[in-house]
């Protein structure tokens, strides 16, 4: 999904959030956030509930005023403009479609608030109905539509005003899993067809990864890491980010024991991690190591390599159909590692079973040193 790499470098950023702080009483819901977003980007704010992502989105929409800081859209400070004068539209969580208006009137609601000729309103509503494949539901009331249809009405309603910025608040949160997967792709296709710049908020990392061109992981009102989905997944910078996005095995409390220009070694309690490159640190520095379960392997015999391995007993075999996840309790500390195998052959899930003594090992490229969280 995330093929279009934004061209942020040519001139001033399209949307620029500068040192924005929002305090509720003493509590800073958004704590000094700065980020530039380029035209045409789909930018996701990802975090668990209460991390401040919704507050940030509501400040973009104009429902909250920042305590301090600026929000520039096309170079103009919009942070004090009331929501009804902003060239920004939002698709609300669970949609907030007006229950007393039918689909057509819901979509036309925003256009009618501007001085637009009736014929043009009709044209634009019909166009957006066609775009979202809702033409035949135009006369229905929201409660007569399915969840997916309501979601498309909400999208149509926020797109019809051709906003400079589209905000999505948990766009797929109200849909069930199967429908969500279809809708994700459909939603991105529509947004890309229209070409609108988009900021979305979600707690679902899968949703963020599949839809967004860039992700910002948020926690305690701050952005922890910003990058493309693959960057954030493959090179998380902190334990929190590694843990939040996807499954991960964390080797905590490690320390750099060898640090040479072409080779580094991190010793954790359970294993010695050997990297084929130097690290931006010095001997004795504290580091944790994150390794994704799908990048680890199991073997009943000792692997022929130094380091990057440990030993344990298979305690769980969890069969997902497409994958199998093995839980391995390490002999030394009793910590549990997860190792994921793709079942590319039928009945491949039966490689190892409960109670097997196994070696867990991984290639040096799988090792991601992360800053420990305190």
């Amino acid at each position: 999904m995330a093929e279009h790499i934004p061209s942020a470098d040519n001139d001033a950023p399209y949307l620029s959030i500068q040192n924005v702080v929002k305090k509720f009483g003493d509590h800073a819901a958004v704590n000094n956030v700065s980020i530039d977003i380029a035209k045409g980007e789909i930018f996701a704010l990802l975090g668990s509930s209460g991390c401040g992502k919704s507050t940030l989105l509501r400040m973009l929409a104009g429902f909250e005023l920042p305590t301090s800081g600026k929000i520039l859209l096309k170079g103009e400070d919009i942070s004090k403009i009331p929501p009804y004068e902003r060239p920004i539209n939002m698709m609300f969580q669970s949609y907030a479609l007006f229950p007393h208006l039918n689909v057509w009137d819901n979509i036309a609601f925003g256009l009618r608030r501007e001085k637009i000729a009736k014929a043009e309103i009709a044209q634009r509503v019909d166009d957006v109905l066609k775009l979202t494949q809702l033409t035949k539901f135009a006369k229905r009331k929201p409660h007569q539509l399915s969840g997916g249809q309501q979601q498309r009405v909400a999208l149509a309603r926020s797109l019809v005003k051709q906003p400079n910025l589209l905000l999505l608040d948990e766009p797929l949160g109200a849909l069930d899993k199967k429908l969500r997967e279809e809708t994700q792709i459909e939603l991105v296709n529509i947004i890309e067809k229209v070409g609108v710049t988009c900021v979305m908020v979600t707690h679902d990392q899968e949703e963020a990864m599949t839809m967004a061109s860039r992700i910002a992981v948020m926690s305690n009102g701050q952005l922890l890491q910003v990058g493309s989905p693959s960057e954030v997944y493959e090179t998380p910078r902190t334990e929190f980010v590694a843990d939040f996005i996807g499954n991960v095995n964390l080797f905590k409390g490690g320390e750099i024991v060898v640090d040479e220009p072409t080779r580094a070694e991190i010793q954790t309690e359970d294993a010695l991690h050997i990297l084929p490159r130097g690290m931006a640190g010095e001997k004795g520095m504290k580091y944790s190591v994150a390794i994704r379960p799908e990048k680890m392997e199991l073997s009943k015999t000792a692997p022929n390599q130094r380091g990057n391995q440990c030993q344990g007993e298979v305690t769980e075999v969890i069969y997902f159909g497409s994958d199998t996840i093995y839980h391995v309790r390490l002999n030394g500390t009793g910590r549990v590692l997860k190792v994921q195998y793709e079942n590319s052959e039928r009945y491949a899930g039966e490689r190892f079973t409960w109670g097997d003594q196994v070696y867990v090992f991984w290639p040096p490229t799988a090792i991601v040193p992360v800053a420990p969280s305190y």
Partner: protein, 302 residues
Amino acid sequence: MKKNVLKTRWGKWWVIGAPYLWLMLMLMIPFLYLLSVSISEMVQGGGYLPIYRDGGWFFKDNYTPILDDVIKGGTYRSAYLSSIYYAGVTALLCLLIGYPFAYFMARAPQEKQPTLLLFVMLPFWVSMLIRVYAIKVLFNDSGIIATTLSGSLKAMGLITEDLHLMNNSFSLLFGMVYVYIPFMILPLYSTLSKIDVRYWEAAADLGSTPLKTFFLVTVPLSKAGIIAGMLLVFIPCVGEYVIPQLLGGADTLMIGRVLAGEYFQNNDWPLASALAISIIVLVVVPMMFLNKYQDAAQGEIK
């Protein structure tokens, strides 16, 4: 097992039956009694002759005189019309005053809402009769409000004669609005407080100014509350007796007073009962249609 089934069945009957029994005793039987009086013969000096006596049925048509009067345009017609007029105006005034009140109550901080609600219901702690008498005392020509107002307006040169606040349509409407406004505010508050804040945000997001949002979103979504409040004020106001009697004047004849006059001055119980039944028909039948319409509208919103 069998005993249990029996128990639940009895429980169910009791739960459903108790309200019906109440309605039967307190509403249906008195209503039927009134109906029977309205078709009986009067007794000079008060009272009526039972419609079943000496082994036979005796009826008298008390409705035709009322209908005749209404057609010819007599006292009853003007009393009916002015009742509907004053009840209607009261309901509208209650809506105009009560809506902003209910709106700000619904949007007040959550923890302050019970207090505000208490303030709305506080007048119920004092008997309505006492409150109406208080208005009478305050608005009297020698009362503090009338004298202060007259004095200051005279001093400003706006009027030359004393103001009369009592025993006219002003005092009547003031009293009725004052007494009935909680019945408007409570249903309005309950619908307004249930409106999801996100509808207002969505309207603002789509470029609607707060005023536009109010008329295009808030009012339509509170339609059920508006209708309920209007009915709760309008229906009792049509038949209101105490307030017109104490605060109204000679020109504000309402059907409640006419009815009381028939009972207590003319001692014509059957005719008075027929008038009462007519009020019920006059008010209830249109309401039933309204209710039906409202149910349909409600179903649509859900």
